[in-house]
């Protein structure tokens, strides 16, 4: 199967971010960039699928030059090809603009590879803006079926059998290929690259793709095209310290907690 994994380079989500008062934006300059966590899970899932059932994995990212490092890291853990969509026109895109850019990139890469993709993986959301929109929008623009929040997939007649995670449990869904899937956290963690694979990934050529290369309409990307505009960025209010309840016995602790809630008219 031909597989595409869409990745985004984001600031390391384990580092606390504060608001830069001068720019009115999140202060992320000094935070190390990493592959978005859910994209990492998507790539690991795609790699395990490839190892079990055969296929090729291409990764693509829309971003600046430094996103190339993240693409190269992906080549050390399962991807054999990588492309960077690098064009100033994409800066400031909202999710629809990004999905449009990716939809044009898909067509361009399929042309480069000489074959169409069977499965397009996206992370379910990014850890910076967490909109969860790009995957579904991409599916719509490509006119492909989509399943969101998957935690597993197997080949099935005519397509795939995927396991979707919900709040109550799991749905087992059959979907025809080609399709788009967005990936939540599976049972396993992404693998560490081996030293040998990291060295080999250095040799992978990662071509740039511009808007012109893709025949994309720049009027549909970037800040001016954005239908969703950021009105304000602010830090959340600091959480107040909670009330600590610890009595001699569990029964007394629970009774006291319920008493406090009754007084506060919680129920």
């Amino acid at each position: 199967m031909e597989i595409l994994v869409c990745i985004k380079q984001v600031p390391d989500d384990s580092v606390e971010v504060s608001l830069n008062q001068a720019t009115g934006k999140a202060d992320i300059e000094k935070i190390a960039p990493i592959v978005n966590a859910f994209d990492g899970y998507a790539l690991e899932m795609a790699t395990r699928f490839k190892e079990a059932h055969g296929g090729n994995i291409t990764v693509v990212s829309v971003g600046p030059d430094k996103a190339r490092d993240s693409l190269r890291n992906c080549c050390a853990v399962g991807a054999s090809k990588a492309f960077l969509v690098k064009d100033e026109a994409t800066e400031g895109s909202d999710t629809l603009g990004t999905a449009y850019t990716l939809s044009k990139a898909v067509a361009k890469i399929e042309e480069e590879n000489g074959v169409k993709f069977d499965i397009i993986f996206c992370g379910k959301e990014t850890t910076d803006f967490t909109s969860s929109q790009v995957g579904p929008m991409l599916a719509q623009l490509l006119n492909l079926p989509q399943v969101t929040n998957i935690v597993g997939l197997e080949p099935a007649e005519g397509g795939l059998a995927v396991k979707q995670e919900t709040e109550e449990g799991y749905n087992m869904i059959d979907v025809a290929t080609p399709c788009v899937v967005t990936v939540a956290k599976p049972e396993y963690d992404p693998r560490y690259p081996t030293m040998k694979n990291k060295m080999a990934a250095r040799k992978v050529v990662i071509p740039d793709i511009t808007a012109a290369d893709m025949g994309a309409d720049t009027a549909l990307m970037g800040e001016t095209a954005a239908k969703v505009k950021v009105a304000k960025v602010y830090e959340p209010a600091k959480k107040e310290a909670g009330v600590k309840i610890k009595e001699q016995t569990v029964e007394e602790t629970v009774a006291k907690a319920v008493g406090i809630m009754l007084d506060a008219k919680v129920f």
């Binding site: 490092d69 190269r72 890291n73 560490y192 690259p193 081996t194 030293m195 040998k196 990291k198 060295m199």
Partner: protein
């Protein structure tokens, strides 16, 4: 502030650092208490290929420069010095083959190492520590085989190694000139593993006796020629000593990292203890020692790629780094105060781990003999 490594190797450093911090640092604590061998964590390290860092490119390795290898080894050692010791000891064993083996031996054992994950260097015996010439292990030629009898002790990676580089006496009458070096494949009949040491520190590294009882090996497993064993062992130790120094630097660095964090968060007399100049000076002294040790290691390993001698620098690096690790670990406990003495906090382990670095691969006293002999020569 760190090893000066080529720009393109920073991504390798980051991968190893992330692995060590996420998979070793917290997980090693339970194994430090129980003494059980952390096989699952070592399996992950072997999967990543960290045990192959020192195999030269022509034998299937990655061709990394020695300073980069030291930088990667330090990252593992910061998380736990036992893991660093196991890796360095594996490197020690393979180095003996690299400097004295045939091309076939170098390739064969590069492959064995890649597959098995560990190797062992067996010089020390119960009666032959600082005085390896007092070895009682014998290797007797019998047709196209050698028959090995004897006992080696304090062997790192014993029972895990894919091969064992050993020294044995082929001619006792000649003293150290009657010592030869051999490679013994794991699972050779007559090779067994004896007592496991219940160690003070580096407990994630396994240390045990290796016993040879009429152990027969092919004659072609001789390294170099008969009588060259002592020289091979000494040259191997010269090459490997800075890497043990590197592991010690990892301990010192961890002591500094933990101290910085604690000095910022512990409040006494209404302010973080890091505001006190006395402790700031202590921290600065720790950094001076740690960074000096690190750069001495870097210098010693860099010399190995030139045609210059490096025995003295190797000994300085190993001795100084061992002392630095002890001093930084001790000061870290002091900074933590009463909590530093508790096993609930990470610093007491650093002192237990550090002590051995003043002892193995040549005690600091032996290092001083090496240095003085080089300076004074024969007179």
């Amino acid at each position: 502030m760190a090893y000066a490594i080529p720009e393109e190797n920073y991504d390798l450093l980051e991968t190893v650092r992330e692995f060590a911090q996420k998979e070793i640092k917290e997980q090693c604590k339970e194994y430090d208490v129980s003494g059980e061998f952390p096989q699952e964590i070592y399996d992950q390290m072997i999967e990543m290929g960290l045990h192959t860092l020192e195999i030269p490119e022509e034998y299937g390795g990655m061709g990394l420069d020695k300073v980069t290898v030291a930088a990667l080894l330090e990252q593992v050692s910061i998380a736990d010095a036992g893991f660093g010791t196991s890796l360095a000891a594996t490197g020690l064993a393979y180095k003996a083959i690299l400097i004295s083996g045939t091309e076939e031996q170098k390739q064969k054992y590069a492959d064995v190492l890649t597959e098995s994950g560990f190797a062992c260097f067996c010089l020390t015996e119960p009666m032959a520590g600082s005085d390896p010439g007092n070895s009682k292990t014998t290797a007797v030629k019998d047709g196209d085989e050698y028959v090995i009898n004897g006992r080696k002790c304090f062997i790192t990676n014993a029972g895990k190694g894919g091969f064992y580089v050993i020294t044995a006496m082929t001619d006792k009458s000649k003293g150290i000139h009657g010592m030869s070096a051999f490679v013994v494949d794991a699972d050779t009949p007559g090779l067994s593993i004896g007592n496991h040491e219940n160690k003070m520190g580096i407990r994630c590294s396994t240390t045990a006796d290796v016993v040879f009882e009429d152990c027969r090996i092919p004659a072609e497993n001789l390294l170099g020629e008969e009588g060259q064993g002592y020289k091979i062992a000494m040259k191997t130790l010269d090459l490997a000593r800075p890497y043990m120094g590197c592991v010690a630097v990892g301990i010192a660095q961890r002591a500094i990292d933990e101290s910085i964090a604690y000095m910022k968060e512990r409040i006494q007399f209404g302010k973080p203890i890091g505001k006190n100049q006395g402790l700031q000076f202590k921290l600065a002294d720790m950094q001076i020692k740690c960074e000096t040790a690190r750069q001495m290691v870097a210098h010693a390993v860099s010399l190995q790629d030139t045609d210059k001698k490096f025995s003295v620098e190797s000994s300085i690096a190993k001795a100084y780094a061992g002392d630095a690790a002890m001093e930084c670990a001790s000061e870290a406990i002091q900074i933590f105060g009463g909590y530093g003495y508790s096993r609930e906090y990470p610093v007491e382990k650093l002192l237990r781990d550090a002590k051995i670095f003043q002892i193995f691969e040549g005690t600091n006293e032996i290092q001083k003999i090496v240095i003085a002999n080089n300076l004074l020569g024969k007179f």
